[in-house]
């Protein structure tokens, strides 16, 4: 019974992890597409989709961080790269809270006809999403270090 519970837990963790990665990648791809579009009918729906993805991303991020990360944190802090948690993860978890706000601002600007003003917010979202992805990789390396 305990084995099944562990198996379900591991499968759930993998599922949430993949969702987290896919939604995170979308927050890189979608701003790139939006920045390439000029006066297109697709800009508004894609902007709304990006803002929605940025909020939905908090769900797998929260599940991973609250339920599964504490064990990882213990390993990192006992290893050679304790800063991978103390600096990188602590920063990443709080930077992540600003992603939906930035995406929402950019989307609102698009919907209010301020496409030009929205560009730097999309660029900020893109850069921040990439940085957060890199930080995630560093944290994973911190587990093995």
């Amino acid at each position: 019974m305990q084995f099944i519970a562990i198996l379900v837990s591991v499968e759930m963790r993998d599922l949430v992890y993949f969702a987290h990665i896919i939604l995170g990648i979308l927050l890189v791809i979608l701003p790139i597409i939006i920045l390439q579009l000029k006066k297109s009918n697709l800009t508004r729906p894609l902007s709304a989709l990006t803002a929605a993805v940025s909020w939905i991303l908090l769900v797998p991020a929260g599940i991973l961080y609250v339920l599964f990360y504490p064990a990882t944190k213990t390993v990192i802090k006992a290893g050679a790269w304790p800063w991978a948690h103390s600096i990188i993860m602590e920063t990443k978890e709080h930077w992540g809270l600003l992603l939906p706000i930035i995406a929402t601002v950019a989307a609102i600007l698009v919907f209010t006809g301020k496409e030009k003003e929205s560009r730097k917010w999309w660029i900020l979202l893109l850069v921040l999403s990439i940085l957060i992805g890199i930080m995630g990789r560093v944290i994973k390396m911190g587990v093995l270090a």
Partner: protein
């Protein structure tokens, strides 16, 4: 329907996030309060910041958040606030780790 003051909402919610980060790290009882509110301090911070974004966006009048000293526009203030908060959060955790 009220017009959503997107720049004021962004400025206020980003600085609020920084205040919450500082308060939770420097004053343990506040972190415990956040935990008691919503199970985990990160969830509590997220919910508070999201609520602040929505509430300040709908209830603050336009141009209430203006950097008078540097003569920034609302848009510049909001954008620079987000960048500043991102950098300050990183700086805070770097200092906390080494000091």
């Amino acid at each position: 329907m009220r017009k959503f003051n997107v720049y004021a909402a962004t400025t206020i919610s980003s600085w609020l996030l920084f205040i919450l980060v500082l308060a939770a790290e420097l004053y343990a009882p506040f972190k415990l309060l956040l935990v008691s509110l919503l199970f985990h301090h990160w969830i509590a911070k997220g919910v508070i910041v999201a609520l602040a974004f929505v509430v300040s966006g709908f209830f603050l009048k336009r141009k209430i958040v203006v950097n008078i000293i540097t003569k920034h526009t609302e848009e510049q203030t909001a954008f620079h606030s987000v960048i500043a908060v991102l950098l300050l959060i990183l700086l805070f955790y770097v200092i906390e780790f080494f000091v």
